[in-house]
Amino acid sequence: MSLSRADIENIARLARLELTEAEIPVYVDSLSKIFAFVGELDRAPTSGIAPMAHPLPGFAQRLRADEVSEPNRRDTYQQNAPQVEAGLYLVPKVIE
């Protein structure tokens, strides 16, 4: 399977990744090779086989009650934020 430059640009857009001009041909080549490689899966007979939903047989995802379980540590968490003001995370203006 071969991907085009347009495919890579579209995937990068969906993934919210800006690629440099130099990166694009590298990913055209390597993602084409990866999809040719995973194409091997086509030869596995899987009709009637359920997709695996949990790595441990018989286990399902545990749910918890919808209750507050964590204290508010906003100030601590915001120490890692690139830009905050008055307890708010700052981003470029979204609505003009």
């Binding site: 995937i11 490689f37 899966l41 997709p51 981003v91």
Partner: protein, 486 residues
């Protein structure tokens, strides 16, 4: 104490007997770390002051008669585990300045048991790699030959334990990231059953595959450390509610009557012939110990690498969506608008391999491709899992090589992702099926270590550690130390 000869077990005894204090021990390891750092680059962050303070607290606890069996033993953590108040980078520029506001459950468990943290170990960026070359903080070097890779993604953990600059280290394994570097560095590695150790505070790569574990000198050391880092955690929705045994009590059990399955597909044409001979020699030792050997087949196992390279990138693309340059992590300069902020922050913050995996995952989950790739891979995963279940009908443990070849030169496979991905051909199956796996040293090829892989049924860690320990009582491969660090 002599660091090159030390194991966690011997250090714990020395501390208990008062032969040295934890402060003395910690200082000695910090000196070894500083001396080895230029050659190995095993650490991203060394927490010397905090380590000495923790060691002093451990010594004080011991003086009051409050010491447990690991009190004062120094260890280090892979930099994928969040450590409160300490930089946690995951090997990425994206998190180069991230100071974790909390501890991972695994870190808290080992701290609670009295261990002293020496620092944070280098790794492939976001644990995506098999050579430790994708780290933003530079490649880690193999202590057996510093021109060679240590394996990955837990390359810092494996190199540090192999060079005896730490007695033991935590690590994680999504497709072989504990076992493959353990094999390439000549140390013991264990990836427990999926759900055995909490994933809380362990930075997510592929959540249905990720599992915390250990890299140690010996199986006995792994048995000592695994207990405190295991067990149910309500903060991880896939953590399993199941009692944790004391893994040390069964280490000496007899192997008489143990049935070892040799997986036919593990001994394929990709396996280096000299490597294979070391594995066969190791199996002969187990036969001498009373084990029976039979061949078994897992016919779908050769599909494990392509299955993994659909499932893991899909989960990675979802997990890494959280890095948006808003709440934490790298942010680009002067974003024009919100979209520009997202795209440039991510484009600049992630390295080449991480971007490759995010894009692979984004594609397989995108409209029109989900059934063809993702659902198909999850069906094949079911087949691989069923093959293992079938094999365990007639065998107690499965044996094979950990890696097709010993360590390869830094740079040799870096530009060819498929060749790099095939390093994990023997290890990925256990992750897909949620099974526990180990790698133990079983000899050398041209001066480079070879690892024997052991895969067990779900929650068979005690039996695997028992088998590995009995082998390590008969052999001394695990006690060999690279000449430059002896």
């Amino acid at each position: 104490m002599s660091a090159p000869a030390a194991t966690v077990a011997t250090l714990a005894k020395g501390l208990a007997a008062g032969e040295y204090s934890s402060v003395e021990l910690t200082r000695a390891y910090l000196e070894r770390i500083a001396a080895a750092q230029p050659a190995l680059n095993a650490f991203v962050t060394i927490t010397g002051e905090a380590a000495l303070a923790a060691a002093a607290a451990a010594d004080a606890a011991r003086a009051k008669g409050q010491a447990g069996r690991l009190t004062g033993v120094p260890i280090a953590h892979k930099d994928i585990f969040c450590t409160e108040g300490v930089r946690t980078t995951c090997g990425s520029k994206m998190l180069a300045n991230f100071v974790s506001p909390y501890d991972a459950t695994v870190v808290a468990g080992l701290r609670g048991a009295g261990t002293v943290m020496l620092g944070k170990l280098n790794m492939d960026e976001f644990a995506m790699g098999s050579s430790n070359e994708t780290s933003f903080f530079g490649a880690v070097h193999n202590p057996w030959d510093t021109k060679m890779v240590p394996g990955g993604s837990s390359g810092g953990s494996a190199a540090a334990v192999a060079a005896r600059i730490v007695p033991a280290a935590t690590a994680t394994d999504t497709g072989g990231s504990i076992r493959q570097p353990a094999a390439l560095c000549g140390v013991t590695g264990i990836k427990p059953t999926y759900g055995r150790c909490s994933r809380y505070g362990m930075i997510a790569f592929a959540s249905s595959l990720d599992q915390a574990g250990l890299i140690t000198v010996s199986a006995e050391d792994a048995a000592l450390l695994l207990g405190p880092m295991s067990g149910f955690d309500p903060r991880d929705s896939t953590s399993v509610e199941r009692a944790v045994p004391d893994y040390t009590t069964t280490l000496g059990d007899s192997l008489e009557g143990l049935t070892i399955g040799l997986v036919k597909e593990f001994f394929d044409k990709g396996l280096d012939a000299t490597n294979e001979q070391r594995i066969r020699d190791a199996i002969a030792v187990f036969e001498k110990l009373g084990a029976r050997v039979r061949e078994v087949s897992c016919p779908n196992l050769p599909l494990s690498v392509p299955t993994y390279y659909v499932v893991a990138p899909a989960e990675c693309s979802s997990n890494l969506a959280r890095f948006d340059g808003v709440r934490f992590g790298h942010r680009c300069e002067s974003p024009k608008n919100l979209l520009d902020l997202y795209c440039r922050s991510r484009g600049e913050g992630f390295g080449a391999e991480v971007k490759r995996r995010i894009m692979t995952g984004t594609y397989v989950l995108s409209a029109g491709y989900y059934d063809a790739y993702y659902l198909k891979a999850q069906r094949v995963r079911q087949l691989i899992s069923a093959d293992f279940a079938q094999a365990f009908q007639s065998c107690d443990l499965l044996f094979g090589p950990t890696s097709p070849t010993p360590a390869f030169p830094i740079g040799a496979k870096f530009d060819d992702p498929i060749t790099m991905y095939l390093n994990d051909i023997y290890t990925i199956g256990a992750n897909l099926a949620g099974l526990p796996g180990m790698s133990i040293p079983c000899g050398f090829v041209d001066g480079l270590p070879v690892g024997l892989q052991i895969v067990g049924p779900h929650f068979s860690e005690a039996r695997m550690l028992n088998a590995a320990h009995r082998y390590q009582q008969e052999t001394d491969w695990h006690l060999r130390v690279p000449a430059a660090f002896a």
